[in-house]
Symmetry: C2
Subunit: 330 residues, 2 copies
């Protein structure tokens, strides 16, 4: 992709992101009670990258659909994502996300539970606005992803207390927790955009592998990311003892004292803040960051392979998005 | 209705309830992770009356539909109801429901949040099984009720800290929290059963007023109900300072010392267990129980009026259900 093309797509992305943000803001404005919808509105102003609606919009476009006809569906997938973040943050007892105080900390637990529920309910309502005769199939796709997102979070919770989590277990977890959602965005975009079976299936798989890459990148940014840019505490996953790709890979390859240290983290369900540097060093020593990067690249490449059936001109936007995610720093 | 007819419908109800219970049990059996779905399954074994699925089944039947074609939709409305109970019980910090330990007490907060989410996601999946070309309208009806249930819970939360709640405010709250759901059950049943516009609209309104009656009956049972039968602590609403129909009506009519006592309850957001008898006496003295009963009867009558367009033979089941609810002791 040449740099002019890159710039054009980049400004299209920024334009669409702005539109999505302003539409999301409108959704909760006139609703009552405000005690419910203003917390919902707060959490949607988090300045996210809006990757999921973008996957949906670009997938619809790539099969010949129009942005205008899927704009509510695009909001719906962002709302579904936000619902899951609000509830996950409660479960993880997280203080911040994207430098913003989490909903249950800013308000209280009950407000956060209910606001999350509401955001999900509105997601369905938004989705319905873009549906006609294809309703059943579309809502089926959307609902399946919702179920999987919950299941993924269930596995993630299970992993907290399990001592033997393999990379295979991890893959199942992120397949449901992250990849099911990105897969759904592309799948639904393709269906609503009028894609044929082959196109739809390819885009669906593109979305799945992008999701895998995205999640491992997220795990990686916990170590390499700039705290202010990434919006989370550096090494936060280590502190909480999260079973990330990095930790599980390190456990696979570590020996001797490194292995002992890692097992200590597992047994104690985390480490203290001042130990973070020591554990980061283990990752560096074992080449875990390179391994994670390789895995991200492998998944991204796999995702891009599924776009082969499309003409260059059409697939540009999705290729751009894949690369944007590959190189993201937040 | 003669007693033979009554017995026939009563055994139909018991048969359908048994079927619903066994279907609900199957839903979560083969799903993974079990850490998520076995708590969901636990809460669905609560021995509820399954009023909402029954409203849906009978509404479908009354317009000429078959039970078989709406059985998944019937499960869906019970699942939606259960999702809201699980999350409400967290917000209310309730220990028991129907003599069963609430989900967040039996397991933990995070499990209850996520199990609630899952139950809702499965509700949509079940609903979809009974839909064909009417998908969009049906899911729209279902989703609107979900949104209202969340909003109703929002108002209910707001009322906790408000000192001036009127009966009008109360009506808005229960319209959303309770009546929107019973209305949806009848509405959806009528739509899926193939009812015409007039039938559908009448059944919808029947469902709404049944919901009002149901909620006020619930408020009343807090005072008059047998603790073991009702499954909640007698006077529990007084202890928690809940703005029930009884309390708001009492505030309207009380004077002098009674008024002072009631305002004390409002200001202190509840009373101690040993004060319950004293407050019950205020209710007795002011004739609040009769007033509540009158309101229940008024709403039930209103509901039954909307069935006038149906032939006697057809509407029997719904009349039976209305009376069953009117006289319920749990």
């Amino acid at each position: 992709m040449n740099s002019t093309k890159y710039k054009i797509i980049n400004s299209l992305y920024l334009k669409k992101k702005k539109e999505i943000n302003s539409q999301l803001e409108k959704i909760f404005k006139k609703r009552e009670p405000q005690s419910l919808y203003s917390p919902a509105s707060y959490i949607l102003k988090n300045g996210g990258k809006r990757i999921r609606p973008m996957l949906l919009l670009f997938s619809a476009k790539v099969v010949g659909g129009s942005f205008a006809k899927v704009k509510h569906a695009a909001l719906a997938v962002e709302l579904l994502h936000s619902f899951s973040l609000v509830h996950d943050d409660i479960m993880d007892n997280a203080d911040k996300r994207r430098n913003l105080i989490t909903l249950h900390k800013k308000y209280d637990l009950n407000t956060a539970i209910l606001a999350g529920d509401s955001i999900l309910s509105i997601a369905y309502q938004e989705l319905l606005k873009d549906l006609n005769n294809n309703s059943k199939n579309s809502i089926d796709i959307f609902t399946k992803a919702l179920i999987e997102v919950c299941e993924g979070q269930g596995y993630d919770k299970d992993f907290e207390t399990l001592k033997n989590v393999s990379i295979k277990n991890y893959n199942l977890m992120i397949q449901k927790k992250t990849a099911a959602l990105t897969e759904m965005c592309c799948h639904l975009g393709a269906v609503l955009g009028g894609g044929d079976k082959k196109q739809t299936n390819s885009l669906k798989l593109f979305g799945r592998y992008i999701g895998f890459a995205f999640q491992i990148r997220d795990d990686l940014l916990d170590i390499t990311g700039d705290e202010n840019q990434f919006g989370k505490v550096s090494g936060g996953d280590l502190i909480e003892g999260k079973k990330t790709y990095l930790l599980l890979k390190a456990l696979e390859v570590a020996k001797g004292n490194d292995k002992k240290m890692l097992m200590k983290l597992i047994n104690n369900k985390g480490i203290s803040t001042k130990e973070v540097t020591k554990y980061k060093e283990i990752y560096y020593r074992l080449g875990i960051l390179q391994k994670a990067n390789k895995e991200i690249e492998r998944n991204t490449k796999q995702a891009l392979n599924y776009l082969n059936f499309l003409e260059d001109k059409e697939k540009d936007k999705l290729v751009w998005l894949a690369k944007f995610l590959l190189n993201r720093t937040n």
